[in-house]
Symmetry: C2
Subunit: 343 residues, 2 copies
């Protein structure tokens, strides 16, 4: 570890005060051209770089943005973070990353932590905190952008996927393909998006006068551990189609079907959510409610940047609508009536 030079060392070498060095460092105009060049040369020569830590101690800005998400290995968040990071970087902001693994306690302490690091802003992706908690935290950590949470408070902006619409559109699509016995794996029990998705599912059924069967409604923790099992349960209940809360879950459903010697889509249609890049490489390629993930990341970051700058108007709430992307994991029910198991 080489010893690190400070602004005082440079000042001494240059024979000027540390304040002059500071001025050069910050491109202040009130410094003589000769002095500036002299200082610049010495800085250059020794490769001096000021401590950003010390600087932010006094300027009260860290150029750090805390990004909290449940799981970085999940391609959904991966794509979003890519969009976030690229946009932040273009604005000289850096990413302080935290993964909560769906744990509310961890989430809470992470938010606390980044507050203690004096981050300039926060991006909370799909926080699990309850509304009261969230409202309590926001004033302390503001500005903050929330993904998939709609909390109308000062200091917070929201970017939400219309999971209600998504659930509706996916279900409607399946109904139009002739399915009536449609299972839904809605997602984590307490998650806002799960509930919304379920609402959309119900709405579609209602619209087509299909009676709601509550035992076709499944919720599952986001770790995908239970998806396989739950898919088996649904299959036993003779569904002809299953709509899921994300593409990875859909992949597990397809695998459950394969394990039970059922064909997707011939026996069962499966529809995903998110439209992650690899959904097209799956076996079979996935029909999914697709989201512009990278762009969403950009949007999130841009809103936060506006909030940090503080002099520009920003959208308090931005709604993103998924669009149906047809793959080969769904098919018309009518077209293959004879394939139905037990019928």
């Amino acid at each position: 570890m080489e010893k690190k030079l400070t602004i005082n060392d440079i000042a001494e070498m240059a024979g000027v005060s540390r304040q002059t060095i500071s001025r050069v460092l910050n491109n202040k105009p009130e410094v003589n051209a000769v002095t500036r060049n002299h200082v610049l040369r010495i800085i250059e020569k020794h490769g001096f770089q000021p401590s950003l830590q010390a600087r932010s101690m006094v300027t009260r800005q860290t150029n750090m943005v805390a990004v909290l998400l449940p799981d970085i290995a999940n391609p959904f968040f991966g794509e979003i973070v890519r969009g976030i990071e690229r946009t932040l970087r273009a604005n000289k902001l850096n990413v302080f990353l935290m993964t909560s693994e769906e744990d509310v306690g961890l989430e809470n302490s992470f938010i606390q932590l980044s507050q203690n690091y004096n981050v300039d802003g926060m991006i909370l992706c799909s926080p699990r905190l309850d509304e009261a908690n969230l409202r309590r935290m926001i004033p302390k950590i503001s500005p903050v952008v929330l993904l998939n949470r709609d909390v109308d408070t000062d200091g917070a902006a929201c970017v939400v996927v219309d999971a209600n619409y998504g659930g509706y559109a996916a279900t409607k699509y399946l109904i139009e393909q002739g399915h009536t016995k449609i299972g839904i794996i809605a997602g984590p029990p307490r998650a806002y998006s799960s509930m919304q998705r379920l609402e959309g599912y119900k709405k579609a059924l209602q619209e087509f006068n299909i009676p709601l069967e509550t035992d076709l409604i499944m919720q599952v923790e986001a770790d995908n551990k239970g998806v396989h099992q739950i898919a088996e349960q649904l299959i036993k209940k003779q569904v002809t189609a299953i709509t899921t809360y994300n593409d990875l879950a859909a992949a597990h459903v397809i695998q459950a079907c394969t394990d039970l010697k059922l064909s997707v889509p011939d026996d069962i249609s499966v529809i995903g959510f998110d439209g992650i890049e690899i959904s097209q490489f799956m076996n079979p390629s996935l029909t999914t409610m697709s989201l512009p993930l990278f762009e969403m990341g950009q949007t999130i970051a841009n809103i936060l940047i506006k909030m940090i700058k503080g002099n520009e108007a920003f959208d308090k709430i931005t709604t993103v609508y998924p669009i149906l992307k047809e793959g080969r994991s769904t098919t018309s029910f009518k077209a293959l009536g004879k394939n139905l198991r037990g019928k």
Copy 2:
């Protein structure tokens, strides 16, 4: 934004000196039980949290580890970061994330940046910097753990995938399946792992006395943009198998085959590298040289932690060997001789 309390505010409220507060905060023993409880109550009451920024200013440790990687949306790095983050967190260390997008300039400035933030250590995943640059930087940013770069210097530890072995094993496997005309998409031109992989490929051919055909050797930038095109070129050269540098590239190769109305594995066998989670969901499921990604992340983090603590021995170099995981994207050449195009 609520105003933030400082240690002085608490000191005043408690009627003691700021040093006593500091002692309570740091669980120092030399403070009277009564005083401690009194202070604790006031801290609790006002939800005071000390500024980690100010603290690290004096303690000279930030509890931050900079993690630099080429692409966060790539599941390969996603899995690794998951392992890194979980391990670091268990040791009260946090992640300062940076994505270089394969850009050497960005990489350089990121390393500089994290140095200026006084991070406690760095993890560089597959840096693109040339050896000289790397050697020059390491003393300034030490301790550092390098993934997939073998630079023997003080202050750096390395975790490398034996791509040579991987390339060898994949090629050998294909040869044993009866393939002799095997194409390789080795990876980014200047990447260390690409060259290693290629060496292994050559070694396997040599071992089986198969003449090397240089026009079956392809290199491609890691962005997968060109993979499709390059795969087409290889296919035109009548290869019966293609070995690739990662699973995503393999997916693109499979897609190129599909586009040309060729079947994988009946017409062409494809083998991937890394063994990311979704490779099993691909169409067809991928045969791949599988890596324990999550565990690699843990290993990397653990080595860095030892280096930071400074009182424990650590492995200067850790080699990880990929293992073959058979999927349905490869098949025996002999078994389907009649399927060969143009033969």
